[in-house]
Every structure is written in C-alpha cells, then in structure tokens.
C-alpha cells in the first residue's frame, strides 16, 4: 500500500512545499472551534509556505516525557507558575524577541517563554443575584451568605493562580484567610469549565475566573450582568506562553513562528478568540469590549522560583482550611 500511496500523494500536491511541517503541541482548548487554533493555523500557513499541524493534549507532560526525541517544534499554551520545571528540562530554546515593550502590567524578562496573552484572576459575580458585591478581598473574607465555586489548585492552573493570589495578598496570614473563605466555598472543581458551568447555572454567587471573563458575556451574549469584582489588594497575573523546542528539526520555521507571535497580525486575533488580553498590542487597538472592562489598579505576580517554593506549603495551608 505504501508504495502505491506515496507517489500518488506526491503527484497530488506537486508544487506545495508540504514537506515543511511545523508541529505545534497545544492544549485542547486551543484547537477547539472556539479557540484561537484555527485562526493561528490559517494565519501562519499564509506566510510560512508550510503545513502547521497541531497535536493536542497535555502539552508539558508529553514534551517532558518525550524529552530530546519529541516531535514538537513549538509548545503552545504553557502557563506562568509552571515554567520552573519546564525550564529545568533544558528542552527549550530562547525565543529571541524584544520583550521590553509588551502590553503587560509587569516587566517580562524571560528569554525562553514568550507570553502571547494575559489576564488576571478575579471572582466573577452575577449582578442580578449579588446586590452588594464585596469591594475588596477583606470584605469578601468577612462577607456572609456568599457562595463561591473555585477550582482545585492541584488540577487547574486558575486554581493554582488563586492559591498564589491569596498567598501574595495575605502572606503568612494566608491560612487564616482560607479559614474564613472555606465556609463560603460551595465546592471545588477539577477545572475552570465545571466551576463556570455551576456559576452560570445559578448554583453559586461567585466563581473564580478572570477579569476578562465578562467580555465574553458582553460580546457574544449581549449580557452585561456578569461582572468581575475588582479588589484594591490586587489581582494575580496569568499569561499563556509559547516556546520553541531546542531540538527541532525545523529551526527556521520554529523561529519564524516565534517572530510571528508578537506581530499585530497574531495579536489582534487574541482578544475575541481567546477572551484574554493581547501580550503586545497598543490598547487603542483592543476591541472596545476589552477596553471598557474595569481593570485592577494593582497586579500581583510571583517569580517562577517564588511560585515553585510557595506552592507546596500554600497547598498544605489550603487543604488544612477545608479539613
């Protein structure tokens, strides 16, 4: 069969340089029809004279297991807070981009992992159900009769960000803060979608999500009742990252992709495809709905090493509050 098929395929696509394949490992959410995957594939194939192929699944565990022999040229959709072990693996090559003028609320000095979008953790509430939303984290801790759904920090990146958020705000007092929050927590879910589903079904008053979540309801559903509570104590920064694999067999293509990620061509697709903020795009070029969103005055972010060091004790504190 092979001997018959291969010449047939070659005849079918004689002029296209389809032997240049860029393999991109990405999370499931990227390539779903509402994710940014299709736009990315189309956009890059238009300029690269190549075939971009997504391989979806658990990006980082897969690359780490495959090691030097990985088929990946690009890994797409890693998260901040989880880069320490990825970096230590030595599997990734520098991105080679100038990150001095990104549209992020923090300075970005990482030369391996390049952010392509960002957002901040926030508790989102339904203004028709919660008439007096807490105006600060402190008010949230003291509030009575509020039910919250959160994600588990052991299985969800947003849950982990929440853990680090509370740790950044309360430091040594984080355990006490969790003890006050725990009775309000209706339940803890494996991932973001279960929690958000419970919230939109009306089970809980608030859900752990992102400052940009209301934009989806406004733009796609013309519903302005979902609001992110903005706290003066600050909100925790999260970005999704892309990196090129050092041992790629397509170094030029991989570099071309990395060069493309921060261009307006790519960045303009982020806000409405990813429902997050672009990593490098002047605010004037953001969609109106994103520009109109209330934004935190203070952004909290722990360095990779701080996050790695705080994770285990913070997790222990968190579990203790719920025992």
């Amino acid at each position: 069969m092979k001997f018959v098929l291969i010449p047939a395929l070659l005849l079918a696509t004689p002029a296209l340089a389809q032997d240049r394949v860029l393999t991109v490992y990405a999370g499931d959410s990227v390539t779903s029809e509402w994710g940014p995957g299709p736009a990315i594939e189309q956009g890059f194939e238009a300029i690269c004279d190549c075939d971009l192929q997504f391989v979806t699944g658990d990006v980082l565990p897969r690359v780490m297991m495959e090691g030097e022999g990985t088929q990946a040229d690009i890994v797409f959709g890693l998260n901040t807070d989880m880069t320490a072990r990825a970096r230590a693996s030595g599997l990734f090559a520098p991105h080679g981009q100038d990150t001095s003028d990104l549209s992020l609320p923090i300075a970005w000095e990482d030369d391996i992992f390049l952010p392509y979008n960002w957002g901040e953790t926030a508790f989102v509430y339904d203004s028709t159900r919660l008439e007096n939303p807490p105006a600060s984290f402190a008010e949230l801790l003291e509030a009575e009769d509020i039910s919250i759904v959160i994600q588990d920090p052991r299985s969800s990146v947003s849950g982990l960000a929440m853990l680090l958020w509370v740790k950044s705000v309360y430091g040594d007092q984080a355990g006490e803060a969790w003890a006050k929050l725990a009775p309000k927590v209706l339940t803890v879910t494996r991932g973001w979608s279960e929690a958000y589903g419970l919230f939109t079904d009306g089970e809980a008053d608030m859900v752990l999500s992102y400052t940009t979540s209301p934009a989806y309801h406004i733009a796609a559903e013309e519903d302005d009742t979902k609001v992110a509570a903005i706290f003066p104590e600050g909100h925790y920064f999260m970005a999704e990252l892309v990196a090129q694999v050092a041992g790629t067999d397509q170094p030029e293509l991989a570099q071309q992709f990395m060069d493309w990620v921060l261009t307006p061509d790519f960045q303009a697709t982020i806000p409405l495809a990813n429902w997050s903020l672009p990593a490098k795009l002047p605010e004037a070029d953001w969609p109106q709905v994103m520009r109109d969103l209330p934004r935190p005055a203070k952004t909290l972010f722990l360095s990779e090493d701080e996050a790695e060091a705080l994770r285990a004790p913070a997790l222990d504190e968190w579990q203790r509050a719920f025992r």
């Binding site: 780490m64 052991r154 209706l186 339940t187 803890v188 494996r190 979608s193 079904d201």
Partner: protein, 282 residues
C-alpha cells in the same frame, strides 16, 4: 440445587480481583517507601476513595436488585428501550451528568424548589452524599443490567417447575433467586467499586471541597500537573491495575453457568420462549 459450583467460581473471581486491588494498594505503599512515604493528604485520599467506592457499590448493587427483578418479571411497552437507556448514564460526559444532577438536586434545583414550596428545609448536595448520589446515578443502571442478565440466565423451566410445585414467592426467592444473586452480586459490586475507585471530576465537583480528594486526583496532580514523573509511579500502578481490572471484567466474568443449564428439563409441556413464558402470577 447445584449451587455449589457457581458460588465457588463467583467467590474465587471476586476474591482474586479484591486481592488484586488490595495487593496493589499494598504495593503502592511498598513502592512509595512504606506508608510514611505518603503524606497525610495521600492517606486521606486513599481512605476517602475506598470508602466512597465501597458505599457507592453497596448502594448501587442493593438498589439494582428490585429494579432488575421488576424488569425481569414484567413485560411492558418500551421495556427494551428502557433497558437500552440504562446504558446511557455510563457514557454521558461527566460534566453533563454533574450539571444534570445539580439541575435536580442543586441549590436551585427542582427538588429544593419543591421542598421550599411546601415549607420543608432544603437539602444540600455538596458533600459525600453528593458523591455517592452521583456514583449511584452512574452505576445503578449498570448494576441493573448486569443483575438482569443473571435473572434471565435462570431458565424459565425452573420457574415453571416452581409454579407447578406451588412455590410461594418466598420459596422461589430462596431456591432460585438468592442462589443466582449470590453468584452475580459479588461481581456487580466489584465492577461498581472499581469504576468508583477511578472517579475524580464527579467526586471533586460534588464533594464540596478537597475532603473529597480521590486517588485519581493525586495521580493527575502528580503526573499531569506537577510533572513529577517519579511520584505518580505508585499511584499509576494502582490506577492501571484497577483500570485493567475494570476493562477485562465485563467480557470475562463468567455468569453463573451451572444455574443456566435448563435445557435438561424434559417436562411434557411445550417449551415457550425463555423468559417470556413465566407464569402470570410471578
């Protein structure tokens, strides 16, 4: 009644599978460097996983008996469709099932709406009761189908013979049904127990917090979230043992065959279709 053989086969297989699981847990402890290698939270997860799976399996199997009995005894329109639909919860996406259960039992669910309307206190689904409820929802239909097979494996001749001997329902239960159940139930219980061992999303979402942590979550955390490839090995062992037990189970479980050879009965009466010809009073 020649019930000695099926009982011994059933018990032997149930025992072997139980030994496989418990032996694996022992192996987990051993590989992880003794129980001290596991943290307090790991031990809690093991404990929660085991007791919720045991309770879910017991409730599912116990509640499935009367349902299977009714389905075995009655013929009505849509019976075949109902039995087919019993397979549905098992293949339902987990999140759809969770949101469905919450639509009924949740804080704003139909049940609490009805309770409030008549002035009764509302119920909370979030907690161990929610986990058990969801697991029974998933596994009761599965158990019904398995037990129904057991019932249908009892040859109609036996029931006819019982009828001709003027057996009371109590006697039929004693001589025909209980021996069959003794052969079938251990396998059903174990199947549900194994399914519930690997529960994760449901247990967490309805469990109301990290108290409802299962071993499966620990595996996920270690392997897919922490990329700690050394740590999940004992957990992965446990998981793969239990999952392969689950996989090979349905096809290989021998339903009590010695109960089935009903074709030896050479009564003078014309034989009617198996199952369909049960006496009307039955």
């Amino acid at each position: 009644m020649a019930t000695g053989l099926p009982l011994s086969i059933g018990h032997a297989i149930a025992g072997a599978l139980a030994a496989l699981i418990l032996g694996t847990l022992a192996a987990v402890a051993w590989v992880a460097g003794g129980l001290s290698g596991l943290t307090e939270w790991d031990l809690r997860a093991v404990w929660f996983t085991l007791w919720q799976a045991a309770l879910s399996a017991t409730l599912s199997a116990a509640l499935a008996v009367p349902v299977a009995r009714a389905l075995a005894r009655r013929r009505f329109r849509g019976r075949g469709l109902l039995i087919t639909l019993l397979g549905a919860p098992f293949i339902l996406p987990v999140i759809a099932a969770v949101l469905g259960l919450i639509a009924i039992f949740g804080r704003n669910g139909a049940l609490n709406g009805a309770l409030e309307a008549v002035g009764l206190p509302t119920i909370g689904i979030y907690g161990w009761q929610g986990v058990i409820l969801a697991h029974v929802f998933f596994n009761l239909p599965l158990s019904v189908r398995l037990i129904l097979q057991g019932w249908q494996g009892v040859p109609a001749e036996r029931f006819r013979l019982a009828a001709s001997l003027d057996f009371a329902p109590r006697d039929i239960a004693r001589h025909l049904e209980r021996p069959m159940l003794r052969g079938v139930l251990p396998g059903v219980w174990l199947a549900v127990f194994l399914v519930c061992l690997t529960s994760f999303t449901v247990a967490l979402a309805l469990g109301g917090g990290p108290r409802a942590t299962t071993v499966e979550l620990a595996i996920y955390q270690a392997f897919r979230f922490d990329f700690d490839l050394g740590r999940p090995r004992p957990w992965g062992w446990c998981r793969s043992r239990s999952a392969s037990g689950r996989r090979c189970w349905p096809g290989r479980w021998p339903f009590p065959q010695a109960l089935a050879p009903g074709w030896t009965l050479r009564a003078g009466r014309p034989r009617r279709g198996a199952g369909g010809g049960w006496p009307m009073w039955w």
